[in-house]
Symmetry: C2
Amino acid sequence: MSTPGHATSVPDSRVAILAHEKFPDRSKTANGVLRYADREVVAVLDRNRAGERVADHLPAVQDAPIVDSFAAAREHDAVGGIDELLIGIAPIGGGFDESWRPDVRSAIRAGCDVTSGLHYFLGDDEEFAELAAEHDVRLHDVRRPPEDVGVADGRAGEVDAEVVLTVGTDCSVGKMTTTMELAAAAETAGIDTAVVPTGQTGIVIEGWGTPVDRVVSDFTAGAVEEMVLAVGDDHDLVLVEGQGSVVHPAYSAVTCGILHGAQPDALVLCHAHGREAVHGYEATPLPPVGAFVDRYESLAAPVHETEVVAGSLNTRGVGDDAAAREAVTQFEAAVDAPAADPLRFGTDELLEAVR
Amino acid sequence: MSTPGHATSVPDSRVAILAHEKFPDRSKTANGVLRYADREVVAVLDRNRAGERVADHLPAVQDAPIVDSFAAAREHDAVGGIDELLIGIAPIGGGFDESWRPDVRSAIRAGCDVTSGLHYFLGDDEEFAELAAEHDVRLHDVRRPPEDVGVADGRAGEVDAEVVLTVGTDCSVGKMTTTMELAAAAETAGIDTAVVPTGQTGIVIEGWGTPVDRVVSDFTAGAVEEMVLAVGDDHDLVLVEGQGSVVHPAYSAVTCGILHGAQPDALVLCHAHGREAVHGYEATPLPPVGAFVDRYESLAAPVHETEVVAGSLNTRGVGDDAAAREAVTQFEAAVDAPAADPLRFGTDELLEAVR
């Protein structure tokens, strides 16, 4: 069974990442690809930092030169083969910045595929569509919902793999990061692992997947189920990237559909230390962290029994490591399971809990 | 603020309902319009029952002649003005049956709008689209998702009206029926009431609304919020038609989005007596009815506190009234709230509980 949804680049392809004026602090997708993707990054495009290197800013990821344009990336590239240009940033609103047009144009003319998670679809841009046809390259708009998803059959629980889903107390608490860190650690430990990406950054990193938040709401669970079934019998561990929160005023539908569609055997509850209200909905206070454990478990149980086996705490807002360790200890007590901050303290506790 | 989503016919318009070969046992939408809609039904089209009357089959709804074609409906109609043809049946798969084409064609030529809840969109049919333009009539495909819905702001709880949502233990347990019966009883009792329709039958009955199960999953809550905000300050009671079940293997996303988007003040829990497994997912047993009360309340609470104030039991499968009354009494105990079977025993208990 081939993987559903988008299929962008293949492993080991060579990519350039566009991140103009946003690297590294506002380039989530670029950073995710640098950190997690199984591809060689030839260069990062940021006209404000041309001449610097990725390693000057992000020490723990693959290094690459920073250049001011796609043309410069080709000049820098001794091997001479760039397979793909990734749009590694997403402005508020998801639009296409016209200042990027020359880079996209050059990439297509050089025979590169272009992958984008923007709301603005490159494939609907007349110039790009024509150029792409002329040069026989593909434009991957990973946020475009696939047309062939359908209603869930309730069968994801049947796969051979242990299926683990990251769930959260809110948006932007670390579900994607936790998923990717766990995947890397599991692979290092020799566990045959697959990630099921559900959002545009995850899809760009993994090179395949369905943007679950963009499918028709009746097909939310079906879109996730299809992905779990596609990889679940060929791996020992499947890590499903969760979205939102089950008590989010706007996005709970997506969360609930993923929970029931993936039929996970275990959950990792993700939280950002100090988050007290729903991000962007400050009038809505978050319930106590511990209450999320029961809420996720009892909501999942009638469809597929599952358990919060670990917690993942984002302590970025905590100044020193001692205070961060104390925060993790408190979080462990609240969720009544082993916990860690994967970026700060590694994933040992989490991997032990889910394997 | 005008009502969002589709706006089909206006109250007091005169309609014909197409229900060929399906009336009355497999014509859910036709029956709903006959029973609940604020419109005069000129005729029902069913070529298998031409010459009979609606009252021969459905005693408690408005009567109308049954005819074999739209042309015959016009001949029968002494007043001479039919405003709209409704497609009142939905075959499995939601396709358009070519045997209906002459009726739709005749209706358009006669200057009638045509309203359909099919998956097949009449507006995408070349012949119908051309004819409709020529005769200046509108084709309402109520299942087509509107393009202008967006992310919820979390504001539905601010409206002046008491907002009541029907929730369920499963699909097809009576949420739409309970909503409509309650609305009729409330209007009779002099309560200024609005229904927020979320599915195609409700939309056809009410003449407006957004098919929440067809919107992009990120906008599920937003679609419902928009409707509640549109009517919530102009009425004293708003009844939101629920969908699915929060522990449904395929459709829980829609249910959860409606629960958080509508921010209801009260819930009516609907159940079909004897239902023991999820309909169509027989390997998934339903949890005990009482467990749904806590599940819905605790899921809703962080966004907007609410309470199951009444239960609605569908006892259609129960032979005699005494046994049905006993079933309702047991259901009352299970949900710890007043309960009724609205179609069998009326809505007094429910209306008392929600007003």
